[in-house]
């Protein structure tokens, strides 16, 4: 046996908890972003020299340890929507719950089930403003949709439809990004109208949404 393997086994034997090994690793961090730690990076003083503001820079890489929730996020990498189901009361969830929410089921651990890639719009909105990381994608149609027989609605974007054409109760399909672009995050998939769905006729409300959304398209063009 090679000496390094023996050393590795010795190292592991001294542990009293099992440590998983992570061979598959991917980093998507934008180039040039560095963890510089906390640093005061500048200041400003008012012209009357009565007030001072100081600039602090802070950048941190976090590890979100998914634990028992991991199969959902691994499922995303594989182009699957994984749900969970209670073995006692049969309730199904996406977003998943690793323990049943019913106080009668005593936090029983749930079973993993692969969900169908179909959903229904529960409610929706058309966003014309968002967080810094989403501004360039505006306008965004956000729907809360029920996937398969899930007892909860999941939020995600709806693509492939004009913002004013989204409807309550409309049938959807789950569409994944190409495999090489998936990151095991919720944005690995989005919703699109189910095949064969056609938007209804123009209404006063649709015209109103159109009027609100048109300046957003123009504004996004001005973003660098």
């Amino acid at each position: 046996m090679a000496e390094s393997v023996v050393m590795e086994q010795k190292r592991r034997k001294t542990k009293y908890a099992v440590e998983p090994n992570f061979t598959e690793k991917k980093q998507f961090r934008p180039a040039g972003v560095q963890e510089t730690g906390l640093a005061f990076v500048g200041y400003e003083v008012s012209d009357d020299r009565q007030t001072m503001n100081q600039f602090l820079h802070y950048d941190q890489l976090y590890t979100i340890r998914h634990g028992k929730n991991s199969p959902f996020f691994i499922g995303l990498l594989e182009g699957k929507i994984m749900g969970t189901r209670c073995p006692r009361c049969g309730t199904t969830w996406v977003p998943i719950r690793t323990h049943c929410w019913s106080l009668d089921c005593d936090l029983v651990e749930t079973d993993w089930v692969e969900m169908p890639l179909t959903a229904t719009v529960h409610t929706w909105t058309v966003a014309g403003w968002s967080g810094r990381s989403s501004l360039k994608r505006l306008p965004i149609i956000l729907v809360y949709a029920v996937i398969g027989d899930s007892s909860v609605a999941i939020a995600n974007e709806l693509h492939g439809v004009k913002p004013w054409d989204v409807e309550f109760g409309m049938p959807l399909k789950v569409v994944f990004k190409p495999k090489d672009q998936r990151q095991g995050v919720i944005t690995d998939f989005h919703f699109e109208p189910a095949d064969g769905w056609r938007p209804g006729p123009m209404t006063a409300e649709k015209l109103r949404i159109k009027e609100l959304v048109e300046p957003v398209y123009e504004w996004v063009k001005t973003l660098k």
């Binding site: 977003p95 929410w101 106080l103 966003a127 968002s130 939020a155």
Partner: protein, 416 residues
Amino acid sequence: MGERVCIVGGATTPFDYGATGFESIEGGAADCVREAMQDLPEFRLRDLDLMLYSHFSVHFGHQLAPEWIIHDHLGLAGLPHYRVENGGNTGGSALYAAALAVMSGHHKAVGIVGWETMDSVSQSQGSEFIALASDIRYELLVGGIYPIYYAAMANKWMKENHVTEEDVASIAAKNKNNAMDNPKAQWYRNEHRYITVDDVMKSRLIAYPIKKYDCSLMSRGVAFLIVCNEAYAKKVNPDGYVTVDGMGLSSCTIRAGDRINYPSWKERYGPGYPDMTEFAACRCSAEQAYKMAGIKDPLHQIDFGEIHDAFSTSEAQIYKALGLADGEHITQFLRDHSTHMDGQIPMNPGGGLLGYGHPVGATGLMSTIECYYQLAGMIPRKHLSTKTQVSNPECGIVNSHAGTGTSISNFILRRP
């Protein structure tokens, strides 16, 4: 029931954003305490036997345990202190904790300092910080900021209750215009103009049906409130104290989509409620507060309120959750301007979050302080005119609200 809980005084700094809001947090806290002392000459800081700190996000302050800076600055080393954090309902939760401390008889006089410094990052970065209180694994990346979640909930609620964009725009205009009578209000200090329903309708889209003027303001601000037992209230402010006769605190799911079939709600209120439309935690906490205060008919027994109008749409949803109007009457209730200054039950005469501002940890305290000023007859001193004074109020409601309705508290304040 233990000791009767009273409020004897309180004050806020001006609420601001950016260059005009330059005060340090401990400087702001000292300003608030000094103003409360001017209103209340008999009050001494050494009378306090507990300090609570109401602060939402250390992300904004780039400082862990910032309450330690304030506490020490106020000269209170040695006094017990801890921080309460509960999202947008941080202020309400701190008041709840202070009331419990007094009610138990263990503490006589409790000070609460609340604050937030949301202008320490850019506005879009700030929105994203707040959205870190959503379930980031599922919601942060999908366009996720709070106005979007609230819009999705309000859109369905408005359809089902036949409430229009104009109906809620009227709430937005009301609160911002009320704020024009309040020199500490951010709307007064910054935008400073009276607006109409039409102005709200024409403001830029945030997330349908919510537009820019339907949204509360990101703020920097500090607030201070004194909660005490009745013996102390009678000693320092015999003619101007107010009693907390009812209080309630309730909770709901973090992700709004998870409440459409939630078993404990089904058990409490039957199937189909709250869906993604109703603020169940508001209804539930109001029921607790009403029961404690002996209120059976809130519309007629409560004279006014300071409530959590993070969005104009949520103020309308809160009216329903508070039982002021049911689904059948809510549109008429709105179109009658029932909550305007000359209406049946004025709401947010101080300007609310839409007009006064929303420095999260200070917000619920600001609402409580405005409610206290109304009941204590202090509005002529604190506002610019008596336009925003409720006439002879006996009973007010304070409402504080977090997440997507994830934590909500209600308080009934009365003149003794």
